[in-house]
């Protein structure tokens, strides 16, 4: 119990004193995962719609792959990213290992199956009259797809939320391709791992609470935006 109090009081202290290390890690967690989710949304929504609206060979296999891909362990993506970016790896020349960009890349791989499969599910479940209407009104492909996505916006928002929640809280990728370097690639998740590894459970708990607040705050913000975009019933 006293450990919990220690964590709470430490969290308050860190928040009030604006501890620069914690703030830095918080900001890094935020921008890295936001960028990864943004990219995953830009790639995943068109792909999901494509899988929902077009028939082609291997389509159901791709749908299955994207669904199964949602269960990809982050540590595996971490190892994969390391193997790619290592000096002995195929992308070693890019010199991206132990930079925030490597974390963005890994988290993009984490978020992509989520955005693809959830948006695919949402678009595929649309009332068949919607595509029919769009077609008879003579909308072009781009217009039609935008219509599908906006009709399926609850599903789309869910995809973004889920992807962000997984990215901002993940540890395996950030630790392995980021390297937890102080002031450079340290995120909230890796900072928590470090503090508990040092036996500083109170500080670890404090940062855990901050990460919880960040994750809840951002998802709440996205969810609220999603509600407002609905036309008045």
């Amino acid at each position: 119990m006293e450990l919990l109090w220690e964590g709470l009081s430490e969290a308050t202290r860190v928040l009030v004193s604006l501890d620069p290390l914690v703030l830095g890690a918080t900001w890094r967690s935020l921008w890295v995962s936001s960028l990864a989710v943004l990219l995953a949304t830009g790639l995943g929504l068109p792909l999901g719609t494509l899988l929902a609206r077009r028939r082609f060979a291997g389509r159901s296999l791709l749908v299955l792959a994207s669904r199964v891909g949602m269960a990809t362990p982050t540590v595996f993506l971490g190892v994969l990213g390391y193997a790619l970016f290592s000096r002995r790896g195929p992308l070693g020349v890019a010199d991206l290992l132990y930079t925030p960009w490597a974390i963005v890349f890994g988290e993009l791989l984490l978020a992509l199956p989520i955005t693809i499969s959830i948006s695919h599910g949402a678009v595929a479940a649309l009332d068949p009259r919607i595509p029919f209407t769009a077609q008879t009104l003579g909308a072009g492909t781009l217009r039609r797809w935008l219509t599908y996505l906006s009709e399926a916006r609850i599903g789309v928002m869910l995809a973004v939320l889920t992807a962000f929640a997984r990215c901002v809280t993940e540890l395996g990728i950030a630790m392995m391709v980021g390297g937890n370097i102080r002031g450079h690639t340290r995120t909230l998740a890796t900072a928590i791992a470090l503090e508990t590894g040092k036996g500083e459970f109170g500080r670890g708990l404090a940062m855990g609470l901050i990460l919880l607040l960040v994750a809840l705050g951002v998802t709440l913000a996205i969810a609220t935006l999603g509600r407002q975009s609905r036309e008045p019933a």
């Binding site: 290592s86 000096r87 290992l97 132990y98 630790m175 390297g179 937890n180 370097i181 102080r182 450079h184 340290r186 890796t190 900072a191 470090l194 508990t196 590894g197 040092k198 036996g199 500083e200 459970f201």
Partner: protein, 274 residues
Amino acid sequence: MRRLLTSLLVGFAALLGALLPACKAEPARLRLATTTSTRDSGLLDALLPVFEAEARARIDVIAVGTGKALKLGEAGDVDVVMVHARAAEDAFLAAGHGVRREDLMWNTFELLGPPADPAQVKDLEIGPALRKIAEAKALFVSRGDDSGTHKKELALWKEAGGLAPWERYLETGQGMGRSLVVAGEKEAYVLSDRATFLAFRDKVELVPLVTGGASLRNPYGVMTVNPAKHPDIDAKLADAFVDFLIAERAQVIIRDFQREGERLFFPARLPAGD
């Protein structure tokens, strides 16, 4: 759908049922907090089964950094602590967290670096070598995780005239093995214990540049946690385990333990030259 759920539930229940007997009362359990180096080197695998068979006990090893190992002892989460940070160990005893400390063994630290050795520190003493690295503002990887090795690194900087972290002094906040990987990838200097370096020798492009010398010795101690503070500590078993570790049999195991054809640890209780 319902059938799927039912079969999932049944499967889960069956799995639980299969696991339950495994959690039943076991032989006496001893919890040992130690450093990652003793576990990762394989030394514990050579030592512990001997004691477990003798005392009919099971030892649960929690391998963490020295700092955390001591914290676990402080909280009474473990019965025995095996670490390598003499000053911190003495403080642990002085604060009444532990009741008994014994010298167990020692190994050595080495300053590693890229084969090109940009700061030209090869074969210097450790103090001048660190000074040259800082002057050259060369890449240096520090564990920065409050472990025994990290404490040792900081102590060496202090002896060398203080550490003023520069742009390319990187704190990884990770264990020895991972920090070696970072140093190898970054072509940086790093202080490592010899055991972990041997295990990683083929995996990283780092070479030993500064070795030997009394200041790079790394003594390990073993301590029993104070049972007066924590009623659930198995003091008798903990004492028996420490007795076993410093007796000749275990000391010979430590002496003869090799990795890659090299001795990693040197027993503290056997006559020198043995």
